[in-house]
Symmetry: C2
Amino acid sequence: MEKELKVRIFDIEVGRCEVTLNEEDARELGIHPKDRVTIFFDSRSATVVLNTAKTVVSGGEIGICTDLAEEYDLKSGDKVQITPAERPKSIEYIRKKMDGLALNESEFEAIVNDVVNNNLSEVEITAFISAIYINQMTVEETAYLAKKTAECGETLDLKRKPVFDKHSLGGVPGNKITLLVVPIVAAAGLTIPKTSSRAITSACGTADIMEVLAPVTFDAREIEAMVNKTNAVIVWGGGANLAPADDIFIRIEHPLAIDPHYLALASVMAKKYAVGAEFVVIDLPMGPETKVKDMKEAKKYARDFIELGEKLGIDVECAVTYGDKPIGRAVGPALEAREALATLEGEHTSTSLVEKATELAGILLEADGAARKGKGKEMALEILKSGAALKKMKEIIEVQGGDPNVTSKDIKVGNYQEKIFSDDEGYVTNISNRAVVRVARRAGAPKDQGAGILFNIRKGEKVEKGALLYEIYSNSEYKLEQAVKLTKQLKPVRLEGMLLERIPDYTVIEK
Amino acid sequence: MEKELKVRIFDIEVGRCEVTLNEEDARELGIHPKDRVTIFFDSRSATVVLNTAKTVVSGGEIGICTDLAEEYDLKSGDKVQITPAERPKSIEYIRKKMDGLALNESEFEAIVNDVVNNNLSEVEITAFISAIYINQMTVEETAYLAKKTAECGETLDLKRKPVFDKHSLGGVPGNKITLLVVPIVAAAGLTIPKTSSRAITSACGTADIMEVLAPVTFDAREIEAMVNKTNAVIVWGGGANLAPADDIFIRIEHPLAIDPHYLALASVMAKKYAVGAEFVVIDLPMGPETKVKDMKEAKKYARDFIELGEKLGIDVECAVTYGDKPIGRAVGPALEAREALATLEGEHTSTSLVEKATELAGILLEADGAARKGKGKEMALEILKSGAALKKMKEIIEVQGGDPNVTSKDIKVGNYQEKIFSDDEGYVTNISNRAVVRVARRAGAPKDQGAGILFNIRKGEKVEKGALLYEIYSNSEYKLEQAVKLTKQLKPVRLEGMLLERIPDYTVIEK
């Protein structure tokens, strides 16, 4: 059955592109909301998901979103023909996964392609994610999904091989180590096209920190060209259209607050596969507030990542790291960029920061053969001390369009600061990652690059009553005030003997 | 964190009501698409799901859909405050179901209320439906869900008790028996507030057939008033806001083409609970093209319905009926209304139609005690023959605002007709429900009330070559032509000896 309709273009794009038909017309055609229709015009056609409306679209009209109208050069008043279209095959495969069966490579390909090409609605993608969450996946399925997720977007084709990469499972504030690891290993000649994320719920992502020093938004061809010059970049992954299906999956997982284990693995490895990585070191921060709660979980992650890597032709090494407190002293884009740059400049900033960065860089150096087995960390430390890492970082900043002459002293942090002092004396028994992130965000991070927290104490240290614990920075007086209020409520730094004051515990009131 | 924004009202409602924020503002507030925000204005507030946009909504603006704007009397340019809101508790319960655990009554209540109050997005509702599909439900959970689904909408409070009801699992075209069962049992004094559905993919629903004789859209209070006068009505369920959560669940199941068993049971029983039914007869049409494929499945349905009824305080009796061919001779709103009315007028129309209607009516009469055990069908037949059922039907038509003097002769069927003759001779071995429905829809049913099919033969009958098999009706010459084309392709009537012609089989090419 077919019907001719008059185009009406909406001035708003809501979610995924859909066309809208009057309820009565839909009923006549025997189609439901979320069914597909094929629209014919001139000698072209497009199959899209249908929406229905009672009043907004009149009988005989078809509402078309701006995106689609532009793509197909349709104008209000144009005539089109529509006819019900078949469901994509991928819905059958989603149902197969819902029924507890394993999917093969071509089935994952069909699903991922339909996700990226807007052929599946959110309802259908949610059913797919739910099925993966409930019925899980084998490592083999995970590998198919990762591969297809990578292949549906841009991939990098780099001249300098082998290609190295690093990834952190996250959950730890202050984790600016990428800004050390990348220049260290690149200074030793390794190729490392590092794509990073921006903060969504954290205080800042690596891309937010790097952006203090240089632009981070580049497409895949630009990244290739830059890496061919400098061995390395530190860019925002979201600009390069790598594994775009993954971003769509994440949008669906978020409202459900689920993080299906195998989907998380596929997500990480799809991005590594897309940049052509042959060796990847994965940082697994372990702690009460990270994804990896204990050694048993860490081993499960490591085993799965390594097995998945084997199926994708990527060597993986995992490093379980301390994730129970912030890394280094600074949290927030500019404060972290300054701390990383100062460390590259040779300043003694934070032992834990240098330790973690050189450990991970060492693993990469050994994998490459640049360092002998067991000597990677030592070599990394030498590269850092020699100034070679700083020199490489300046090259990276320059190639990305930043000022290569920038020094840590030049970096502008928040105009307003407030010092937080200890009410008590005792040993620092805990610094809560979640509380630190909430305070830094309340101060304005990551949008306000200058906002954040600078610690004056470290875990295990003895502090006196009245001692400076940390300073909160912001470019907004109001936000600083709010952050101070929040920090007094959450008390991110715990001293021995403070346990009786932990009611109500912020982990309970945490959203 | 809180933010002040300027209202912008969209002139389009797309799906569920959402507010839209510029991406950058959302990032600053640390909220994702599909997170909830609370909007404050004057001394009021509303918590709604958030959408984000790159360009349609500028920084500092908030897009608000027309519905919400009207509800809260907001105008473009008004100032509102927004702040991130917590996720509803019901998401936790959905996740519990995803994790394979059973939910209790208050958990189902929270989910159903949030579904109806737009506090859950489609993603979250889909996860719930998927979890029910994959992890199933116990009958106890199904009862909780049915009860809460009923309680979230309107319920009927009828004076005349007990309240009887009937339901058919569907899948069989021509099934106009409700138009016989209801007046028969109501003539015997039983109370039966029958709510019916409209066709979505079928040729016509009971509400579509009844609408040929009288209006069918009434709210719950109007239904109560009418039933108090006549014992019975035959109305469209969609007008009365009974079990509204169920309609939302169905909208989600449809694109996935899933029909989770226990959700289907909950759906049926929620509506029976909502009308206050104390006894329900359920028609389970069994056949290769209905939901119930064989006796084993029929018994499972019957067992589950009866157990579910016990938990809801509703006596249930199930009747397995032949579902492998259309009921009676007519398919399509006006043709079926005419056939039902003619049967009530005493005309000999179709044995199978009268058989099925009086069997089911008999079960209700026996349940009431109006007929002795084993004598219900006989009594139903007497009521039909005596003209008492016709008299009651006229009362029902009148109370619903139709013309009580209507006769079967007055009913207008399609202006255009085409007779389909047999190419061959032999016994009619099969009449395909699906093919019949597709042809009737192609002819214009249900929107064109006069469209449909009138059979001249029945299953098992011997036909000669050139004999009239059926007639197709339509009010559109073009649609009739299309339906004729389709019927020649699908061949809904199969004769013995035609098996070699069954390639390609239409059940395979069926969408």
